[in-house]
């Protein structure tokens, strides 16, 4: 086993190996179990220093996984929704919104024809007129200006307040 490869394992552990070199080293590790054992031992030393436990990995650990992977089908990539698909959904949403708008408009047009509005006004106008009179009268009686200028036959606010304090 070359010293150069061992040094690369040390660098790889520390994430200090260039991309291309790392790929090359991984391929070498895959082909040479002795190199893998070296990586395991270096890693175990590092772990033991931090956790006070030396953990030994089984020699055939990765080989067992590789064997099982060979029996598995290639993972099928699940496609994220493409731009075209997203666009189709947007178009559908816009169409639905447009249809809803049209339906709403035609409903309002039926409800508020000039004839229907006039009929409604005639029904409500007399009562409305009485109500206006009542409101007008109330406002006149309770006008602040009228109190302040003593236009109403009553004491101005100031005097009422003074009276209450006494």
């Amino acid at each position: 086993m070359s010293e150069d490869l061992n040094q690369k394992i040390s660098q790889f552990m520390d994430n200090e190996l260039e991309h291309a070199d790392a790929l090359q080293l991984l391929a070498a590790l895959n082909a040479q179990p002795e190199l893998q054992h070296k990586l395991h031992r270096y890693t175990a030393i590092s772990h033991a220093l931090k956790n006070q436990v030396y953990l030994k990995v089984k020699d055939d650990f990765s080989a067992n996984i590789a064997e099982q992977i060979q029996q598995e089908p290639v993972p099928v990539i699940e496609q994220a929704p493409s731009f075209k698909q997203t666009y189709q959904w947007l178009a559908l949403a816009a169409s639905l919104a447009f249809i809803a708008f049209i339906v709403d408009q035609s409903f309002n047009a039926q409800l508020f024809t000039p004839a229907a509005t006039l009929q409604m006004a005639q029904r409500w106008l007399p009562e409305q007129s009485n109500l206006n009179k009542l409101i007008g009268q109330y406002l006149k009686e309770h006008s602040l200006d009228a109190y302040a200028k003593s236009e109403v036959d009553d004491k101005p606010y100031g005097k009422v307040t003074t009276y209450n304090q006494k």
């Binding site: 040390s10 270096y42 030396y54 990995v57 650990f61």
Partner: protein
């Protein structure tokens, strides 16, 4: 906890992309890269190194099967880490159901993962061996030449990059690279008789 430098992430992206294109050997490389980390992680829950390796294997197979759905929204290691933790938790729940009527709930499983590490030190023999390994390891570090020892400690305990160690020790990066490798070699040589 999941802190992967950019170099490492780029490498993973390339390997994942190769697997997704049908290159199964690229997945073997991902296994080699992460097997130690994943076994350690699973062992925090399972607390038996032998069982932890079986559960870790299962986690890798699950990851392979799910790789078609991996879109790189998280890093590959973060994604694999989640799969490994879920596999370990499921394993613990199933193991408890098999061995007793006591039902382990998910909070208890979470708590197990956060307990201090005394991983798989079930037997007195294992405890003694571990103690012996740790004593040899510490002695091997103390025996290193001063400059090699300093570079090794700055890397392992302080997590400094090669560039930062080179600046701190006022020497070229190539020297640091070599010192770290030689330190590891020297420690490994002293540990080998204990591990055989």
């Amino acid at each position: 906890m999941i802190n992967q430098p950019r170099n490492s992430e780029q490498l993973d992206e390339e390997l994942v992309s190769r697997v997704q294109r049908g290159d199964k050997a690229a997945f073997d490389l991902l296994v080699i890269k992460y097997q130690h980390k994943i076994i350690q992680l699973v062992n925090r829950y399972v607390k038996d190194p032998s069982e932890a390796q079986d559960v870790a294997q299962e986690a890798f197979i699950k990851a392979y099967r799910a790789l078609g759905a991996f879109r790189g929204e998280a890093t590959f290691y973060t994604w694999l880490y989640r799969i490994a933790i879920n596999t370990a938790k499921n394993y613990l729940i199933l193991r408890t159901r098999r061995h007793s009527n006591y039902q382990l709930d998910i909070q208890e499983v979470e708590a197990i993962g956060n307990e201090p590490q005394l991983q798989g030190m079930d037997t007195p023999e294992q405890l003694i061996l571990n103690e012996e390994i740790m004593t040899t390891l510490n002695k091997a570090i103390e025996d290193l030449p001063e400059e090699m020892q300093l570079a090794f400690k700055l890397r392992e305990f302080e997590g400094l990059s090669y560039e930062d160690i080179a600046l701190a020790m006022d020497c070229p990066i190539g020297t640091i690279r070599s010192r770290l490798f030689r330190a590891r070699e020297a420690i490994d040589k002293q540990l080998t008789p204990l591990l055989e």
